[in-house]
């Protein structure tokens, strides 16, 4: 299956060298069906620190399974206001 991956702030350097997605910090990636967020994190080698993950704009835990055609966005801990 193919999904869109978005990595922001300090995670941007971990974007794979694949087909660009809809935005500047996104890529299209191919994954086996049933892949979880945690498996993508491991595959990308993201640093071992807390992060905030969204599938299609909804916050998810790392055991969430990603469906084909969806968008996975991962942020390091950020805040402001």
């Amino acid at each position: 299956m193919r999904i869109e991956l978005a990595l922001f702030a300090s995670l941007e350097p971990y974007l794979p060298d694949s087909e660009p997605g809809s935005g500047r910090r996104t890529r299209m990636i191919d994954l086996p069906d049933g892949t979880t967020v945690g498996e993508v994190v491991a595959r990308l080698g993201l640093p071992d620190q807390p992060r905030v993950c969204f599938i299609d704009g909804r916050g998810v835990k790392e055991d969430a399974t990603i469906a084909g055609g969806s968008r996975l966005a991962i942020f390091p801990p950020v805040a402001g206001g």
């Binding site: 807390p50 704009g57 916050g59 805040a79 206001g81």
Partner: protein
Amino acid sequence: MADIMRVNMSDLSVKKEPLAAKYAKFVGRALTDAIIFNEVPPKSDPLGAQNKLVFAPGLFGGTTAPNGGRISVGAKSPLTGGLKESNAGGQVAHALAKLGLAAVVIEGKAADPAARYVLDIDGAGNGSLMRADELAGLQTYETAAKMREFKGDAKVALVTIGPAGELGAKAAGIAFSDPKEYQNRWAGRGGLGAVMGSKGLKGIAVAATGAGLEHADKDAFIAAVRKFSTALKEHPVTGQGLPTYGTNVLANIINEAGGYPTRNFSDGRFAGVENVSGETMREITVARGGDVKHGCHTGCVIQCSRYYVDKDGKYVTKGVEYEGAWALGADCGIDDMDGIAALDRKCSDLGLDTIEMGATLGVYMEAGKLAWGDWKGALAALDGIVTGSADGKVLRDGAEATGKAFGVTRIPTVKHQAMPAYDPRPIQGIGVTYATSTQGADHTAGYSITSNVLGVGGTVDPLKPEGQAALSQGLQIATGMLDSFGLCIFVAFAVLDNPAAFEAIYEMASAHTGDTWTADDLMMLGKQALTMERLYNEAAGFTAADDRMPSFMLTEKLPPHDAVFTVSDADLDSVFDFVPETAKAMGISKPV
């Protein structure tokens, strides 16, 4: 800090008096609240002689407590009609505290409306008023430059208003100088600049020469400071995210969550977000040689501030901060970072709140008066505020006044104040804060974005109503305490996740004052501040009906989640359930 300085603009006298016993236990926001509660009639005219404008450093003003130099500013608000407490960075809180001043209170009103005065507070902590009519109508940065000229080489912290404040604009703010003497830190919200202007006061210069305050137990204070500083540096948000990208790092994550209000709260995602995000802003600023990490006041260890510079590397404005970048960006359909910075600078020059003005321009664009994305047209519209154009006379009073004047029904306000950069439909916890806050729609009053989106301090599903009232209540109380101590609310990100950071706050308070502060005392101070604000607002005429979302947010579905605001009225009405008990314990029932 034992003295209060009373500046009477009616007879031009300045007096210093010891803090009255009824005020002795309050500092910062709580002291601001207590003075207004006890001295400003709730039904009085906000721009009349009875209103008082209070500047109060927090408990940690004048000390080395990390992030402890914020200033509390308050009065009866011309925008909301309630008690307004606005909080800002800049150098003035430390300067006042070091001169032994717990508060400066501006009272009365100059007899001649054309007269302009500057309050000078010297190195001995004595104040005098100087006539300065030549400052009339000057913009913020010009005003500050002229005041520094008057003062020669003297080291001063400055407080100023722009022309909008002099005109009585309900969206006018008050500016404070930062450590590099840029006049760019703001108590923006609620029209406090108009209160200062109504009194005939154009600026305040405070000698920034006082020595740091003594502590009851110096060693314990230093140990607690170290503990607090370490906690702030170790937390990934306060140690890395905020200092690297600034507050505007939120743009992408709030957009991802579908809560980035776009074109006057008609969409939760902005197609142009990547052009105006914190990441992009950092790239632009670094490439142009701008400063991307400093504190808004001496003693900040997080350092989320930065300067936006033009293509030649010349200073344009602060930040741009997340709220301003959103208000003058996505909310107006503007995705040009230089355009946003120009608008932010324009608001600063004129002395206007960027959040209120961005929301105002969004409403104005929705009315068809200006095309979405037209930042040059927006600049001209803002200029109309000071040149006195017919539309400018409306715009200056904010989003609600503008919506009503031009027949717009989607007006994103609560208690007449515009909502900041989070749509409350897909992020319902912040909606509870907007609806119930004593301040009108205000994100800082109880920043539920923490658990709703950022995964700080636990997780509460932002799209569901469950748990939002309790979340907002806890955060509103904690914020009341932080604002009273003079601590930047960004310390909360570390405090919510690390018990050592919370302990360090009451350890610093105990070691500094010699009194014993406990965790419960901290929360009680927050409750007391909110209780005074709440009782004041009730006496000013607010009821439960004012603690509600604008009706379009209950029915109009916001893409992409098709969300509406679903927190029940009963839940909203529970947020201030602690007020009767707190008021009883404080022995207060209603304001003056």
